[in-house]
């Protein structure tokens, strides 16, 4: 049981702890790794885009050097790059590159967030807010439901023996495969808009919370329960004054996993119906029309959103645990 708990929690468990509210000392190596990734990215752009640049140049009657007996199409990417260094600048400025350069993505992110008004269809903030709404609604319901089920499991042995194994097994099932069906079924009974997405988001954030909270509510040791017993505390007081506070350090990591999963669920839920708005819709329309820069910017917007959400939960975690005296 414990290893499965870790499996669910491991995905994003410490995502925020290293990022928000930590010392600057740790930043050096992080920046080095980020710089390394950017360098690899920039180096990969010319070979990825050279074919398109070369055929454009050939059509414009610029001499393109290709290896003996090969055409531009059949030539290797690196061979083209090495033989035509003059074409490299063109690989960084294409409209629909196979791999956009980091600065192109950054420029698109900037122009779609700062440029158009927030309500317009071109604004990435508009799309992000649609996805964010479904994410948060789903997360609240998923987390509350998970909390209630965890309490039921901890206080009822029958539920513990019969429901808990399903909660664990459900983590091994590709739940996202259900997403298109839930969206279409809810549409067919007249539920549209935010709710179908929120249902999937809730479903995904539900199980990490169940598993984490069950572990947390069980964490008080026998000696602590015995102490409450000597105080003549009833079950209700035992829950509010011992079990629930003791579960807090377990709750927050599950909430972090849950909110990240909730965002993924909301994005996936936007795929099958061809939703008009949302980050998932941006991904899908970008993939239909080959707008690679749009795909990458939507992806980064989703990543930033996930980081911010996890960061907020992490900040609440730090503040709450500090006040409760769990301080590190």
């Amino acid at each position: 049981m414990s290893d499965v708990t870790a499996a669910g929690a491991g995905v994003g468990r410490s995502a925020a702890t290293g990022w928000i509210g930590r010392r600057v000392v740790a930043l050096g190596p992080v920046l080095a790794v980020v710089a390394g990734i950017l360098a690899i990215w920039y180096a990969a752009v010319p070979p990825m885009n050279i074919h398109w640049a070369a055929s454009r140049a050939a059509r414009a009657d610029v001499a393109v050097s290709v290896p003996e007996g090969q055409s531009i199409r059949s030539a290797g990417a690196w061979a083209l790059v090495l033989r035509n260094p003059g074409l490299i600048p063109a690989t960084y400025t294409q409209d629909k590159p196979r791999l956009p350069a980091p600065h192109q993505v950054a420029a698109e992110l900037w122009s779609t967030t700062a440029g158009p008004p927030v309500t317009s269809n071109k604004s990435l903030i508009h799309h992000a807010s649609i996805t964010l709404g479904a994410t948060l609604l789903g997360f609240v319901f998923g987390a509350l439901g998970g909390l209630l089920l965890a309490v039921g499991i901890v206080y009822n042995r029958v539920m513990d023996a019969s429901v808990m194994p399903w909660a664990i097994a459900s983590q091994t099932i590709p739940i996202l495969a259900l997403a298109p069906m839930i969206v279409v079924v809810l549409n067919s009974i007249g539920v549209t808009g935010l709710v179908p997405k929120a249902v999937i988001a809730a479903y995904l954030s539900f199980f990490p919370v169940v598993v984490g909270m069950v572990k947390g509510l069980r964490s008080p040791s026998a000696i602590q329960s015995d102490l409450l017993h000597t105080y003549n505390a009833n079950g209700w007081q035992g829950f509010w004054k011992l079990r629930l506070p003791a579960a807090m350090p377990f709750l927050f990591p599950s909430l972090k996993v849950g909110i990240a999963a909730s965002l993924v669920g909301a994005i996936i839920a936007e795929l099958p119906t061809g939703a008009q708005g949302g980050l998932g819709a941006r991904l899908l329309s970008g993939s239909y029309y080959g707008q690679t820069i749009q795909i990458w910017s939507a992806l980064f917007a989703a990543a930033i959103l996930a980081a911010v959400l996890v960061g907020i939960v992490g900040a609440i975690q730090t503040a709450t645990l500090k006040r409760m005296g769990f301080g590190r």
């Binding site: 491991g10 290293g18 990022w19 992080v30 399903w166 091994t172 495969a177 994005i267």
Partner: protein, 308 residues
């Protein structure tokens, strides 16, 4: 004595009610069948309670609960005449699984055996190797952990449209998505695992004059095994999700994700459910297999020791 009697009475009445429900369903008396199913459910819950009180903790209680849900599902769908486009009955799904077995197998082979498994091997292998390399430079390791953790929590599924564009519609692009999804959890877990060996243990290896590789194979990799297997287990689920979701962005006319998205469009929900059952079975079996391997490889670890 009374406890044993009560148990026998509960078990017998549950059995009778289940048989009665099935008979009523077979004869087409749907309303009565739903009533019988509800009673059977109550009797089965009482039976589970008896089992739990008797100390039974294995697979029987959850299986009985699953059976109750299936029974109520079947009887409820038939009694209320729920349209198949909202929720098909269990029997319809099973019939569809039987009649479409070749299609299901073809989709399974395309999505799981080709896309997911290939990507899983590549992603986990790459994550492992990069972790080993990063481990040799402490600065790199300190940088990789936060970045890897950050990226592991990202909606990496979103790279699917890009990778489908790069690698084409066939299984190679699905394998690529899966590889990217598996890479970071594996990397993070392996890096953490390699840091798990204690200083005393490392010092001991030094006093044995063991070199880097000896220390790695004899001490650090075994100590890292629980973390590595944790990563491998996380990736089993991610692999199937990645392969299925990537097919939503384009695929040849086979594959589980392709079938789910097209059959949903045609409102053939029995086929969708059939695919989901296959996905659930494949996901659980894959996870179970890795968990078994873990038990065999890290039998010495406290989390694997069974309380007897």
């Amino acid at each position: 004595m009374t406890g044993a009697n009560g148990f026998l009475v509960t078990a017998a009445s549950a059995l009778v009610l289940v048989v009665l429900t099935l008979l009523l369903l077979a004869t087409g008396a749907e309303g009565a069948a739903l009533g019988a199913a509800a009673l059977a459910g109550v009797a089965l819950v009482a039976l589970i309670a008896h089992l739990v009180r008797a100390g039974q903790r294995g697979v029987l209680p959850p299986l009985l609960l699953g059976f109750i849900i299936l029974l109520l599902w079947e009887a409820g769908v038939r009694a209320f005449d729920v349209p198949g486009v909202i929720l098909p009955s269990v029997s319809a799904i099973l019939a569809r699984m039987a009649s479409s077995a070749p299609t299901l197998w073809e989709d399974f082979a395309q999505t799981f055996l080709r896309g997911a498994l290939a990507g899983y091997a590549i992603g986990c292998g790459a994550g492992f190797v990069v972790a080993l390399v990063a481990d040799r430079t402490p600065a790199l390791q300190r940088g990789i952990l936060p970045v890897g953790n950050f990226l592991a929590a990202m909606p990496i599924v979103g790279t699917a449209p890009i990778l489908v564009m790069w690698f084409g519609f066939d299984w190679q692009s699905k394998a690529a998505v899966v590889a990217v999804m598996c890479f970071f959890p594996m990397l993070v877990n392996t890096v953490q695992g390699l840091a798990a060996a204690e200083r005393m243990q490392k010092d001991l290896m030094r006093t044995y004059a063991a070199g880097y590789w000896k220390t790695l194979t004899k001490l650090r990799l075994p100590a890292a095994a629980p973390f590595i297997f944790n990563g491998l287990k996380i990736c089993t689920t991610l692999a199937l999700i990645g392969a299925i979701v990537a097919e939503f962005f384009g695929s040849p006319i086979r594959g589980m994700g392709f079938r789910i998205s097209t059959e949903v469009g045609r409102l053939a929900l029995d086929m969708v459910w059939a695919e989901i059952v296959v996905a659930a079975l494949a996901g659980s079996a894959f996870y179970g297999l890795v968990a078994l391997l873990e038990r065999a490889a890290t039998f010495w670890h406290p989390s694997q020791r069974r309380a007897r």
